[in-house]
Symmetry: D2
Subunit: 137 residues, 4 copies
């Protein structure tokens, strides 16, 4: 690989780590605020999504910090979760915190999508979604 390309890749990787860590933090802080506010900010789907997004961003960043061969796999999962989290945040229609969270998720999604190279995004398996929905409360 040409040196210039390696440099570009390396700077993309660092940027993706930055985005994952920033997104992890925004999701954690937004979660804390949503829990305090209650009401429609404490909808199960939103709280779960913010926890999911914080966790996969952290794991995705760890893979990249370690220079792991399989970071494309965690980056793919991270891109998918960030996209879903952004959507849920946007649906609240808030300015301020929720909008900032959605924007950070979108930036992180974009970086992670680039890093996820060989993994094909697929429509969410309806069975898998159903399985989660069917869990007893």
């Amino acid at each position: 690989m040409a040196n210039a390309e390696a440099m570009r890749s390396h700077s993309e990787l660092r940027e993706c780590i930055d985005h994952c860590m920033a997104c992890h933090r925004v999701c954690m802080e937004t979660l804390a605020d949503c829990v305090k506010q209650g009401g429609r900010h404490a909808e199960p789907k939103l709280l779960r999504m913010l926890m999911d997004c914080a966790d996969i961003c952290e794991t995705s960043a760890r893979f990249m910090m370690r220079g792991s061969d399989l970071h494309s796999r965690t980056c793919f999962a991270c891109a998918e979760v960030c996209a879903a989290c952004a959507e849920v945040c946007e649906q609240l229609g808030d300015e301020g915190m929720m909008k900032a969270c959605a924007e950070m998720c979108r930036r992180c999604e974009e970086s992670c999508r680039r890093m996820s190279g060989g993994v094909m995004p697929q429509p969410l398996n309806p069975e898998a979604a159903q399985r989660a929905a069917d869990l007893p409360a």
Copy 2:
């Protein structure tokens, strides 16, 4: 969804959580032992893989414990990492600890693969692999 199917799904989900948590622990303990032993047990690729596998197993378990819609994404990543980790452990040709770790990774891979429904496994993007390999030491 018929009740019998929901029950089956629910018990598969619990089993997958069990496997992820058991695999997380075996990888953490194998890592500790490998670091102590040194030599070919402390090859960078092996140590990185054990850390990767412990981290994604933990995150994958968390998604399922929360009943998250997107657990198929983290289960897919987890299956891929478990498969790669099992392979690296098997290559050492050890009996005992390394073999037990490989076997747990295979069981976890199998559960996670079933849970990952709609995500297509793809051959690892060669660019993504190269990117990691090119990182300055």
Copy 3:
């Protein structure tokens, strides 16, 4: 150290890891259920505490799985958080899930307290508590 004592210590350590991992899981699953139920099960203090307890249990288990010299520090923090989490769960006065969670927290607290050897429990610094309470929503 006599061999019998080392064996005892080793089995205490394994038990403490078991308790931390079981407590991590119970807190994660209780959190998911509380979020679904809403109402007094979604009080900010309770949700935060369950997240805290899951996270420190996981970290405490990791230190012990690695055989880290400083596991007494994380076990001390874990014992303190488990005690507080048990108390918050008990205050709800529920049978079933909340009670089971409180009981697991108490068992984990006890194990961790034994492992935390040289660290003195102190009354929570009122300034530190105030600092958290004063954070803007």
Copy 4:
């Protein structure tokens, strides 16, 4: 509490979160480099310490991001681990990476010590240290 004091506390808290997250990252990246380099950079004690420090920094940051009452407990554990990690890094006598890691650990230790209010640092329990040392390889 006077408003000025609350503001100061809040900015100290944010700084401590920054330090924990920066320290988490430096430890993860230093760990990856140590594993690659091998030799005296792959001493079990050093590798374990870097993993410990990364994990407790992450957990400590999560407690503070959530505004948890018990962040003093995790900050205390974090300060202790950061101090020990800095010492191990300094003992290698390297310029560059190891020195930068030690310096970040010291900054994080200092912030976390301030946040750990009511928890008394104690000399490490000799029994607890022995227990870890006695674990079978």
